[in-house]
Symmetry: C2
Amino acid sequence: MTNNKISIIPLGGLGEIGKNMTVVRYEDDIIVIDSGLAFPDDDMPGIDLVIPDMSYLVENRDHVRAVVLTHGHEDHIGSLAYLLKQLNVPVYGTNLTLGLAEGKLKEHNVANYQLIPVQAGDAVTIGAFQVGFIRVSHSIPDSVGLYFKTPVGTIVHTGDFKIDQTPVDGKLIDIHKFAELGDQGVLVLMSDSTNAERPGYTMSEKTVGETLKEEFAHAKGRIILATFASNVLRLHQAIQTACQFKRKVAVNGRSMKNVVEISQRLGYLTVPEGVLIDIEEIDRYPANQILILTTGSQGEPLSGLSRMASSTHRQVYIAPEDTVIVSATPIPGNEKLVGRTINSLLKLGAYVVYERTSGVHVSGHASQEELKLMLNLVRPKYFVPVHGEYRMLVQHSKLAQDLGIPKENIFIGNIGNVFEFSEEKALIAGKVTSGKVLVDGLGVGDVGNIVLRDRRQLSQDGIIIVVMTLDKERGCVLAGPDIVSRGFVYVRDSERLMDELKDKVQLVMDRYEPGKVMEWSVIKSGVRDALGKFIYEKTRRRPMIIPIIMEV
Amino acid sequence: MTNNKISIIPLGGLGEIGKNMTVVRYEDDIIVIDSGLAFPDDDMPGIDLVIPDMSYLVENRDHVRAVVLTHGHEDHIGSLAYLLKQLNVPVYGTNLTLGLAEGKLKEHNVANYQLIPVQAGDAVTIGAFQVGFIRVSHSIPDSVGLYFKTPVGTIVHTGDFKIDQTPVDGKLIDIHKFAELGDQGVLVLMSDSTNAERPGYTMSEKTVGETLKEEFAHAKGRIILATFASNVLRLHQAIQTACQFKRKVAVNGRSMKNVVEISQRLGYLTVPEGVLIDIEEIDRYPANQILILTTGSQGEPLSGLSRMASSTHRQVYIAPEDTVIVSATPIPGNEKLVGRTINSLLKLGAYVVYERTSGVHVSGHASQEELKLMLNLVRPKYFVPVHGEYRMLVQHSKLAQDLGIPKENIFIGNIGNVFEFSEEKALIAGKVTSGKVLVDGLGVGDVGNIVLRDRRQLSQDGIIIVVMTLDKERGCVLAGPDIVSRGFVYVRDSERLMDELKDKVQLVMDRYEPGKVMEWSVIKSGVRDALGKFIYEKTRRRPMIIPIIMEV
């Protein structure tokens, strides 16, 4: 007798953007879809990146059969190294995806790993599953959606996708496969909700190439094009256009160099002989014979483009008549950074092409009409909108309802939810451990809420440290109180305030008669209260106050 | 013989958004246009607000004849209290503007002030100037542009404006006055660049009213409308629509209550008897008879709407079937906050109307076609685009060039620049003190770059404090080293690391033979170096390290 249900457990990417990771489980066979990272929010100061809580996988380590990757973006492969350090399982993916993933694994010194290359169109058997890889369009080549044929029914996961009818590399999304699966019957569809709030159709990547051609035709000086390192087809279009206009191409930025190198090696990017030059060589050519491809389209302070904008780049200075093309839309939270970079470039006299309406960028995600098409092709019994914040999932769910999928067959859930599906019914059957694990430097998970709360408080009003040396036996102050502050006020201008603080501490200490027993915790809270109150009245600020008592 | 030049000195709002303040000077007569504030950037943790450096005005205090206000927004009146505390000069403005300004002055306990009300259409003589007030459309009533007739020529300042052909209150922007001035000849035009990057026309405020009507017609539960407190005409439209659909109106949020009270008192907002109810009373009415107007359209964590979204509001809970209308676009930097609030509202089951395309918000600033119309009406000899970041000024300058204003007659400058204009020539003649003054709690200007740098460092990796008590004479450690950390790692999980840090400090101290003279600064830098290196190798973090030595 077979168990008649299949479980889907999202560990990341549901109700949030990034750190995508989804578990599909049938009896004792577990497959993990993607292992991504997310970038920290504003309220996580100092954090480098965020990965999914993988406890469920570690606890079920004996059942995890494989990781299957949909594409090579950080939010889908960025936590693979952290996973493989805990769990040695085979990883399936297309060539470019595995090429990029392998780079990450080496960076993280992961010694043992097993990467199994597949191609779009392939299907492999893993445990009780037949897993198939379906070509989709996205902002990185070799992206796939997935299907899982199981004893209970077929599950389809679109991965990140759009429907580009005129793909730059001629490789059309495999509409036929989605249609065929729909024909045969699909139990559950998980589909990308990133652009579920956007009406209409997402433009083809090819339109960017056309806009680039126009800009190249008018450009007088150098052209600097900033875009996402991994958008290989955009790099391809830029390089092609450069060839057409007889410009040499230099690549700037470690991640972009890395992508160009891997893409060339694996055959995803063909550059004619003699076109690529080293960034050190650009001064040997006239300005109108140069294209520089660079990272930094998000205005990141230490990135290539920002350094050029602030005239601190080692090789590239911006001259009047240069054209800078920012071929990206600021991701939420980065608008100001990007704006500042553009201001600086304009001040240097550059001609800057940057607006959303300028045609130099298109999204990699499906808009509403494409999402509807996908739903109509696959015609699933149950629908789980994935990859998106709650409001995007809600919007995607509305689209599905408009197409006739009953509301009770649509599941808007959270990470950690265990969705159980069978031909007869579907429900949220429980909850497993899930959440954010914060990576700060070499520490994974050692920064939690308390540390973050302290960092936030420190950043608001700084810190005041009060140090005293006490003779506990004789019950008197031997040295101090000394007061040290950071991030509170500029001390040189505030000597009087610091003296007043000392007096306040002294008043607290005066309460103790010499020779009487001193309770340190009482002294500390007395100092904290007295200073806190005084400082707030005087300045309306609440610095962190740390009394430290030494005993001799 | 008269001096044949006039100076314009922007002290805020040029090359930046906010803290608008512009000086117009003819010989010894100075007039100040607006006295605004700005909100702090991400890189100013803990700062409450930013005001212009007013040193130039304080140094020239005997020449400052008046402040003239264009409208009542914070970025135009928010630093008036700080100015009047240093300088007692008369303030001119329209009724609503002065009403709002007076509220601020009382809040700041400014005792002596002289507010002189004017109406759109008025002109007054101040020193050598004839100053005229011209009605414009903007997102707050009673907004004016200004003209200054001087012995050298006429200067026009648009203030913040749009050209609303169907104003809600019937008060059309005074196109005729701008045309008349243009006919008579204008030396310099300063015009609002906020939306210079936006093609086309900004929609009329009236279109928002129409959208509201549609939403009200469909709404089943309560309606909660979040918008900017000062958008009186939007509040007016919402209240009117509420009356039409027989809903009572409750106002939530101190600033909005304040604006409603002032607007009613001064006759800018008429609410039929019995429509306004106290927020405490909403539970006495059925859900479909309630409209709540609230602050918090920018997702500010402690605002009305955010409290409702997080179910921590004292009076208002969100129920399924409630309609929440976010009648605003997130200002740059607030997208994530607004997004989070919307997610939470949706999770509570509310129907949320929020998109830019939904028609529930329009901008208060002129888009490109309106900016061109203004330039063509006024036909200035010289043009200074104002109110905007550099890229907006550049875009506005391009528009002006397209209309035939020669590039050399357009001035894109910075705050502090002294622009000198005469009939014969124009130039940037020098520079005066200008900049940002940071307000943190009660402190004005006491937080500078060093304090901010410390706050930023503290927020990234926290702080480690090392305390020792030394016997300087005997050259030995009496107590410690003790190590206290905040915002670095969660100490309970990291006891071993803390012990290692102590050992490292001990190693530094072991270099000193007992009885030898100890140089405190050498010990301190020794401790800082040893710990810094060790911590970075071990964790890849760079906490602030503060060694404190006490002497007994």
